[in-house]
Symmetry: C2
Subunit: 434 residues, 2 copies
């Protein structure tokens, strides 16, 4: 009763952890798919770098294509999964060609959607096919579908989330094991929670920012923003910061936030001090959590596993069934030409209270010298905790400030960096009081 076509052929490009799991998932759920959508699905094309790599499943070598683009061109393929994950290059070519050849595309690739999502959605709309990317944000949490369908006509004004499981694992694990960033990162790499070669894009906030940009476009019905964002990662967090935050009744979390302030878009990713009593302070390990403020629905929270083959293949399968249920949907919920550009909030105007930890020489006049810099920048101090380390003739000074503008903070940091008493770069986090 639902489908147009009774037999649908699938191509999978990329057979890493995710692609392999998806391959097995589709085969094992063939009957369930048939019941729910009336469609027989068959995998008729797969592509990966190396046909001979040892894999956990067997496949007919006739359906293997060394050149990924062949999958996008093959006549007997209706749906293409792009699971390579680059923001350009072969990933972009595979998706472009598939859409132009009127094949539906499903991808887990946040980098390409954050960068080329508008262009690709227009291409999908023009060719009357679906472009689905539920797995690109929040792993197994059906967050994009929730915004597009579950909360479809709500006026959303803010989305806040822990969007990167790697970072959340590292911060939680630093706290529970009282171990250093670099040791915990090594463990995360061994456990498969962090990229073994180049974990940079997880750790520096780029991965979260891509997700924030996709969320903004959906939540606010706008084009994907290209502006410079406030982006800060977790590489600078030291165990000492976590300890002090803990004493002050805070947790440190890497948050991705997008909101509308005076009709302007403000997207940001940064480590944030959050009161322990706050829901999101208690999300630990590789979990993701996302809070949506909308009208008339109020606050909706979604929580679940943010990464890994299981959750990701769950999201990919939900996209597959969405395509199989038959109609063509706008990839971002609204047509391309109705999604306007939105002007960007001036980061300098952003008001927040801040946490700073300075390592200073243990000398007379230090506190007075530092206080002067704060006063000069019109920033007033709410809490100051000094921890002397007599043996090494130094002292750690933790300061929580009253609310002030980002502009003043940047000047403050600049001024502090040239102060003769300060031994090393200042650790510096936003302090979200909510």
């Amino acid at each position: 009763m639902i489908m147009n076509k009774k037999n649908i052929n699938i191509g999978i490009v990329g057979l890493g952890q995710i692609g392999s799991r998806l391959y097995k998932e589709i085969l094992s759920k063939k009957n369930d798919i048939k019941i729910k959508t009336g469609t027989n699905v068959t995998i008729t094309g797969i592509s990966a770098k190396n046909i001979n790599k040892k894999r956990s499943f067997k496949f007919n070598k006739k359906i293997f294509f060394k050149n990924a683009l062949e999958i996008s061109k093959k006549k007997n393929i209706d749906i293409v999964f792009e699971l390579i994950g680059h923001s350009d290059g072969i990933s972009k070519k595979v998706i472009e060609h598939a859409l132009k050849n009127k094949k539906h595309v499903i991808t887990a690739n946040k980098a390409i959607i954050a960068k080329h999502g508008d262009y690709l959605s227009l291409l999908a709309e023009k060719n009357k096919v679906n472009l689905e990317f539920e797995a690109s944000v929040g792993g197994g949490i059906p967050i994009l579908r929730t915004i597009k369908n579950g909360l479809s006509t709500n006026k959303i004004n803010k989305v806040v989330g822990i969007l990167n499981g790697t970072c959340n694992y590292i911060i939680s694990e630093m706290e529970s094991s009282q171990d250093s960033f670099s040791n915990v990162l090594k463990r995360a790499q061994l456990l498969g929670y962090a990229e073994p070669r180049n974990p940079k894009f997880d750790l520096n906030g780029q991965d979260s920012l891509s997700k924030v940009r996709i969320l903004s476009a959906l939540a606010f019905n706008k084009k994907i923003s290209k502006n410079n964002c406030l982006m800060d990662g977790i590489e600078g967090i030291e165990i000492e910061d976590i300890r002090i935050a803990n004493k002050l009744n805070y947790k440190i979390k890497l948050l991705g936030i997008t909101e509308i302030i005076n009709n302007k878009l403000f997207e940001r990713v940064h480590p944030t001090l959050i009161k322990k009593s706050n829901y999101i302070a208690n999300i630990n390990g590789v979990m993701n959590a996302i809070i949506i403020d909308g009208k008339p629905v109020g606050q909706t929270i979604l929580q679940g596993e943010g990464a890994g083959p299981g959750p990701t293949s769950s999201a990919l399968m939900s996209d597959l069934l969405s395509v199989l249920r038959g109609n063509i949907k706008y990839p971002f919920g609204s047509p391309y030409n109705k999604r306007k550009k939105i002007s960007f909030f001036d980061i300098n105007q952003y008001l927040n209270s801040f946490y700073l930890r300075l390592e200073v020489k243990d000398k007379r006049g230090v506190l007075s010298s530092i206080s002067k810099i704060f006063a000069k920048n019109k920033i007033s101090i709410k809490n100051l905790i000094q921890n002397p380390d007599k043996k090494n003739k130094k002292s750690s000074v933790t300061i929580i400030t009253h609310e002030n503008s980002e502009k003043n903070y940047r000047n403050l940091i600049k001024n502090l960096s040239s102060n003769k008493f300060i031994i090393k770069k200042t650790n510096f986090y936003k302090n979200r009081e909510e």
Copy 2:
């Protein structure tokens, strides 16, 4: 690009708080609906008991029908909202006639879906129209859509939730104000959180059980169960229970639970002691929260406002857009004839640890007499706290047991009720250790 029909007419049956809010919501979101679905929607029929009742909006009296059934018969109506809320009678007739006349139906009515959902879904499938009921469970939380679409091919084995905002408000408020059940109920009624005339179905667990039955059918792809369930409400909870639980590091929550144990369905609703560190113990006020365990996705949590015109109209609008996006969906995700009956878990075999509070005479031999009853039923005691009330010559005895079967507990309660030392009926809750 999406719709078959460019102009869609809507009828609304029931103009209480929910219906009125929906009426205004549809009018104010006409343009948004047009953008997202390409459809012009017009409300061409409304029905309520009294045309002259004072309302917060004006309407053309020509579209008012005193007889609700006229809406289901009218030619120029494509979609009918049923918002009366009875489990039978006029609600059933309105939905039946609308489906038979090939109109899509959207309802917020959990009672009718829990009772007649299978029959009505078959009727919808036969007539190739949609029957949507997102608002029937979890208020504004898009929980049904999440199970049907977001987690579509996951193997779900358990769903646990706080499903009734009225009960959760009352329990939370008893704790924070240290006030009695009856006083807090009165306040809840004044605030509109509890039915002013007959709050019974919220308080006795029936409302939560209806929601549990809908969740089971969707989560496990089964027919709606008709079996007797373990159902207990919050009417018996005393402030003393909340205080003692608090001292023991527990919160009391009314949970709705459905799970598969050895291929059998076990549905239940009961007040439950939950460790304070547990996520769901910290859901307060009118909030709802639902935890889904699925494979391969892992654990997914959804939280949001569970009732009220805002959240409910959000869910109704998501149903409307789902219908307008065009294709016909199975109301329960799978076709009627593929949803099998499932055999029911024997409640007597259910193992749990229990909390009991007895009020006993302050006499010699009491504890020994009570202990004997526990021993006779093979139930061993984990914690016993005695609180003497010398002035009134009585004593409160709180007992937490080791795990045992429901059958043994029922016998225990029966035996305790005939004990000469016990002054009043025993308060008795499940103790979920997770």
